[in-house]
């Protein structure tokens, strides 16, 4: 392990704030990938759905998932900016 990497790891270990940020980033990344999968799955279901009422409900769900993803991406970007 290089000196820079070692120093970074040590810094992360000793800084509670930074450790919390790293954990939060990991959680967000995992969540965003799950949301993306969910959105794709809902879009597929929408394509196959013919009933207008059910289509409406699916569209609502897709919007919510999409908005949450958008918010999550923004939060992740903020965390990355703080680290930079």
């Amino acid at each position: 392990m290089g000196r820079k990497k070692l120093l970074k790891k040590l810094g992360e270990f000793f800084s509670m704030d930074r450790r919390a940020r790293v954990r939060r980033k990991e959680e967000l990344k995992d969540l965003l990938s799950r949301l993306k999968l969910k959105e794709c799955e809902l879009l597929e279901r929408l394509e196959q759905e013919a009933d207008p009422q059910r289509r409406k409900a699916l569209e609502g769900k897709i919007h919510v998932v999409h908005q949450q993803r958008k918010k999550g991406i923004g939060l992740l970007r903020e965390l990355r900016d703080e680290d930079a």
């Binding site: 939060r24 969540l31 949301l35 569209e59 609502g60 919007h63 919510v64 949450q68 999550g72 939060l75």
Partner: protein, 607 residues
């Protein structure tokens, strides 16, 4: 009367003692510093609560042997069996653990507390322990002034240990000096009379100091100073073991029946162990000699032999009681029968848990869920739909609503008084007493739980107002208005079903998305209903009077939606420990949802 004269009497006796003997002053100061150290240690361990303790507790008490192990380890670390038993009672009262697990912890705590005797007898008298106390106090105090919670907690623990050691040193010094002026061994009694008298002394000293540990340290230091005989010291140790149950008994006064059962179990265990030790004191002393010899302890090292005795008789107590634990539980349940759980009374808000932020927060969370259960009940009644059919049958809501017409048979106010108000008031009272001075994290959780309880009451009141016109227009000859009110009933019923699904959702179901979906539905429904009303007025399908009633009632339904979704978000997303903080942070507010709902609306209008 007794309470009023107790404190002045103690002050007078201590003052008189300080006047006639400076050595007694040193010993008393030692006890005071020791007890202060224990308080500091307790404070320190409290700082480490916040989910951590609960998590450890749940994992380490699922088997009886694990419960005993947990009792041993936690008491060895905290050096206070009283603290462990009081915490156990509060966990038990809050429903975090069962009675059998609680008894296991108490048994273990009795064994764990003997580590103190080993530490003091084996370590405290071979080195000058105040030399270790000083750096601990300095570093501890330094850490106490730090901002992060964990560092502060570590500081309290370190300072607490420092004070414990310093207190022991003072007691040791005091007894050594005391030895030259007064010989207490002159008062020692031989035989059973002496054994019983010194056992009683041990009980009294522990009751007064509220710490068997302090009594034991005092006994060991007195034994080291030659102030008590070895036999009398053993009796004092037995007495200390019995006296320590007083703290748990006091702690159980405010606990529920489970807590009281545990306190009785503690008393029974320690009394039985004490009785066995007294009855078989001579064979036990011989066993102590054999074990000591086996451990390489010299025959005249009475300090370590006392520690051996203390561990041995507690171990024998556990071995004797363990096979009877099932019967003990059954007997305790008969002795202290459970009150029939009632929806009217708070179930989890107990005095014994108010001092422990983690347990108190959990108690408020469980009580809020209890209130939620009653809220579902009253709203289902308000809609005149049987709760079980509504939430469990999965039958189409249109069919359910048609089968159960609205009548005025339900006394809403009475139901509210009995099932909601008492619990809601208890939650508010408990929070206002417990929240003061808490850590921010817990206060934050409590804030959301209080808001959730308030939101439930708002929703219930809106249902109450809605009822009037549900009855009035539910039987109207005007088919349009009747249909609209039926729709309102269906919407609220649908919401209750969805919230029940949310309650049962696992993390894979993404409860956060479900809640935001409900928020979006609220907005869409409100807009659509308003448009329907406009259309009906335009087409003169309903009278202006009907229209204004419907508009008001739509506002009530909107309130019910908003408040209940808020409750769902708090109880099943924010307070859901299985969800990550990241998931909770993605919850959308009204402004963030708006573009989605607008788009959905636009798309719907376009189709």
């Amino acid at each position: 009367m007794f309470r009023r004269i107790l404190l002045p009497s103690i002050v007078i006796v201590l003052g008189w003692g300080f006047w006639i003997s400076p050595d007694f002053k040193v010993i008393a100061a030692g006890v005071a510093i020791f007890l202060f150290g224990m308080l500091s240690l307790e404070n320190g361990f409290k700082s480490f609560t916040g989910g951590l303790l609960e998590g450890i507790l749940q994992k380490s008490t699922d088997r009886l042997w694990k419960s005993i192990g947990f009792g041993v380890v936690s008491t060895s670390l905290m050096q206070s069996s009283s603290l462990v038993s009081v915490i156990t009672i509060s966990f038990l009262s809050a429903g975090l653990i069962g009675l059998e697990q609680g008894i296991g912890i108490i048994f273990g705590a009795n064994l764990g507390t003997t580590t103190g005797a080993w530490l003091i007898a084996g370590f405290g008298f071979k080195v000058k322990i105040s030399a270790y106390a000083m750096p601990m106090l300095v570093f501890g105090t330094l850490l106490i002034f730090q901002k992060p919670k964990l560092l502060k907690g570590a500081g309290y623990i370190l300072a607490g240990l420092g004070f414990l050691l310093l207190g022991i040193q003072y007691m040791k010094d005091g007894f050594e000096a005391f030895k030259s002026t007064l010989d207490l061994t002159r008062y020692s009694l031989p035989g059973l009379a002496g054994l019983l008298l010194y056992t009683l002394f041990g009980v009294l000293a522990t009751v007064i100091m509220q710490s068997s540990h302090a009594t034991l340290v005092l006994t060991i230091t007195a034994l080291a100073g030659g102030q008590v005989s070895y036999g009398n010291a053993l009796a004092l140790a037995i007495g200390a073991n019995i006296g320590t149950t007083v703290t748990a008994i006091i702690g159980s006064f405010s606990a529920n029946e489970e807590g009281k059962r545990l306190a009785v179990a503690h008393l029974v265990f320690n009394l039985m162990t004490g009785a066995v030790a007294i009855a078989f004191i001579h064979p036990l002393m011989r066993v102590v000699d054999v074990v000591s010899q086996w451990l390489g302890i010299s025959a005249t090292d009475y300090l370590l032999k006392l520690a051996v005795f203390h561990s041995l008789f507690n171990l024998i107590g556990i071995a004797l009681m363990l096979p009877w634990i099932g019967r003990l539980v059954a007997w305790l349940k008969r002795l202290i029968p459970a009150r029939q759980p009632s929806r009217q009374q708070p179930r989890y808000l107990l005095e014994s848990s108010i001092g422990f932020p983690d347990t108190a927060t959990e108690a408020v969370r469980k009580e809020t869920l209890h209130l939620w259960d009653n809220t579902l009940d009253i709203i289902a009644h308000g809609l005149r739909l049987p709760r079980d059919e509504l939430l469990e049958s999965g039958r189409p809501l249109e069919e359910l609503v048609a089968r159960h017409p609205v009548d005025d048979s339900f006394d809403f106010d009475r139901y509210y008084e009995i099932k909601i108000k008492s619990i809601y008031s208890a939650i508010i009272a408990y929070i206002s007493r417990a929240s003061f001075g808490w850590e921010m994290e817990q206060s934050g959780e409590i804030h959301w739980l209080r808001r959730a309880a308030q939101a439930m009451v708002d929703a219930i009141k809106a249902v109450k107002h809605l009822q009037k016109n549900l009855i009035r227009y539910g039987h109207s000859p005007n088919v349009h208005i009747r249909h609209q009110y039926q729709q309102l009933r269906i919407q609220v019923a649908k919401l209750l079903r969805e919230l029940e699904q949310l309650r049962q959702a696992v993390p894979e179901d993404m409860p956060g998305v479900l809640v935001d979906q409900l928020k979006l539905d609220t907005q869409l429904f409100y807009t659509e209903m308003n448009r329907n009303i406009d259309e009906m007025i335009r087409k003169q399908q309903i009278t202006p009077e009907m229209a204004t009633s419907l508009m008001n009632d739509l506002t009530y339904v909107h309130t019910i939606y908003q408040r209940l979704v808020e409750v769902g978000e708090t109880l099943f997303v924010r307070q859901n420990r299985a969800l990550s903080d990241a998931e909770k942070s993605l919850q959308l507010d009204e402004a963030e949802l708006k573009p989605a709902s607008d788009t959905a609306q636009t798309e719907r209008e376009g189709s």
